[in-house]
Symmetry: C2
Subunit: 347 residues, 2 copies
DNA sequence: CGCTATAAATGGAACGTTCCAATAAATCAA
DNA sequence: TTGATTTATTGGAACGTTCCATTTATAGCG
């Protein structure tokens, strides 16, 4: 049953008894064609089983209708939520997003970007992998293809960024812990080569500073940004002479890992050790105990990024404003008061 | 900085002082070109910032190097794990997988498939959305583009399927529950329009049959295949006169929902009600209590699907064998014995 | 030296669209 | 009727590659 040679616009022109130009016009939904002719052509398309060759079309057209979404870790549900938000917007605009996973690997990322560019994408939405080299996006920029970073940014690039207010989120979270009476605080997970890390850690430190937690009482443990990393962080923290009683985690995945490690030690998050996450993925609410986390309006950021991208494509510019999304702390069960402190507030 | 007109193969030919054919040969890594010439050309490519136009190339070449991965629910970590397995294989073969999400929506699926076809994919790996109409893949088949289904299949299509042994997995799980002394069993989540559902439910019923659980003691509750659906299932089940004491869930997401609903009622999975999931996603092991689940070797199935696809492309056939992957039951904490039964085995 | 064999490089015709300029047909005004 | 205007349709030249058939340069051999 393998088909004969693929049908082209000429085949269906012959079939319908019109010229290829007419067929092309029908395909583009032009109003110049007499309705009867159009239906005749559409029938031929159906009969022949023709499939439009967008590659050929793009050879002539200025812009393609596909944009690339390059994501550093698809297994993190956070990014899936982000992707869902974007897709809604793109679908409405007749743009097709192709998602590619870099698995946090800069080499893989280069390959993926190259492929996407070769495919002629109209734009790129990227959450860059860790260790992305500064020059990675140079050539894409000079090719005039619009790029938007989401969630993550590169140290000194001028590419627009759509991200949550990481600093503010971390301040809120740290203040919350301190108000609950905790005096020895930790920051768990992430590594200093990520700008996001610097922002979140910066907020954490600032809150400590203003609310009077001295440097010796602050413990910073870098680590992988997943469950495993979180577990390792907690072990490290409990090995120091004066362990912390609460931790702000780089993201929710790390927080889940911390809670798991706690349970392995027979301790309970909230009662024995306070933990706060970042991102507020769907799972946070359902976890046990439910995870206190910094909500970043993931889907909203995704939609925002998509809108910015569409506008850039439309106005054929490679510049756009950054967008820093508002954040809020969602207090749940995992961040109980310090048990040895009288200062903890009730709720 | 917006670039001038895109550089083409001719521009770099001029720059390097060779013909376009030579450049093309270099691009393809042909051995016919003198090494010095090749480096000269490569330098020109670098200088000019040329990007290869794969669309134009595909106009002449038989096959493209991109395959489409169409997935019904990217937010289910199970599919992310599956995608990761495939990517490993494709990357090694120089094939670029583009992932598209259908969000379990047949209309969206049609759009996505159309786009992918127009883009000229060499093949399609699909986990079809619920309610996919039988004709959806007809035209793709007749176009000669190889398709592989993963995890799900369509009622009577002849498209090859790579999936776990759902029937066997369900039998193992149900037997396990019955051996633990449970006598009133439920099957939670999913709906009968999915073939996978029929297979898993079929296994469940068969085990009940052979181990002597009569029909009145079997409760079947259909529902969404996510946490929310699982929660709803448990509520429904507890509303009947003689509620079940154990449940096999359509997948892990449903199982997590069930455990959550149990906790809301002050009950604990394992001690008060046994729950078994299906898929054994990474999270199952880390959950609290850890979830007993049917492991399906997700990444392995992904790799398998990718290999089958590559072979189909290579041999330009649209036919291939089905592959039913082995399954195993991973017993953890969530499936304790029936507390009112003397028959439960220890461990 | 001439001749052939091999190696390296090249021109030109596709590939399947779009879009402009041109044509053909239908309508209208005078 | 004729010419002007509008409405539908059409041919042909791009677009950026590949690949075949050639051409040109280089080497090998007697």
């Amino acid at each position: 049953m393998a088909s004969r040679a693929k049908a082209t616009i000429l085949d269906i022109a012959r079939e319908a008894g019109v010229s290829k130009s007419t067929v092309s016009l029908v395909l583009q939904g032009s109003g110049l064609i007499r309705p009867e002719t159009a239906t005749k052509v559409r029938k031929a398309i159906e009969d022949v089983g023709y499939v439009y060759n967008r590659g050929a079309a793009n050879l002539r057209k200025a812009h393609s209708n596909v944009i690339g979404m390059v994501i550093n870790d698809l297994t993190n549900p956070f990014f899936a939520e982000l992707a869902v938000g974007m897709e809604r917007v793109f679908q409405a605009a007749g743009v097709v997003p192709f998602i590619a996973n870099t698995a946090e690997n800069p080499v893989r990322q280069e390959e993926v970007l190259k492929s996407l560019m070769e495919q002629g994408v109209a734009g790129l939405i990227v959450s860059p992998a860790r260790g992305t080299s500064p020059g990675t996006f140079r050539r894409i920029e000079t090719a005039g293809v619009p790029i938007v970073f989401t969630m993550r940014r590169l140290p000194d690039s001028r590419i627009p960024v759509i991200a949550p207010d990481n600093h503010r989120g971390a301040v809120l979270a740290a203040e919350h812990l301190i108000r609950r009476g905790h005096r020895r605080l930790a920051f768990f997970g992430g590594s200093s080569d990520l700008v996001v890390y610097q922002e979140r850690l910066g907020g954490f430190l600032e809150a400590c500073e203003t609310l009077g937690i001295p440097a010796p009482d602050r413990l910073i443990v870098e680590g992988e940004t997943n469950r495993k990393g979180g577990m390792a962080c907690l072990e490290t923290a409990f090995a120091v002479p004066q362990p912390p009683t609460a931790a702000l985690c780089f993201n929710d995945a790390v927080a889940f890992g911390v809670m798991l490690a706690l349970r392995k030690r027979g301790l309970e998050a909230g009662a024995d050790f306070a933990v706060v996450g970042f991102d507020d993925v769907a799972e946070a609410e359902h976890y046990s105990p439910a995870l206190t986390s910094v909500a970043v309006d993931t889907a909203g950021l995704g939609e925002r990024a998509a809108h910015v991208m569409l506008k850039m494509i439309q106005s054929r510019t490679t510049r756009a404003e950054n967008h820093i999304g508002a954040v809020s702390l969602v207090v749940r069960e995992s961040s109980g008061p310090d048990r040895n402190s009288q200062v903890g507030d009730a709720a």
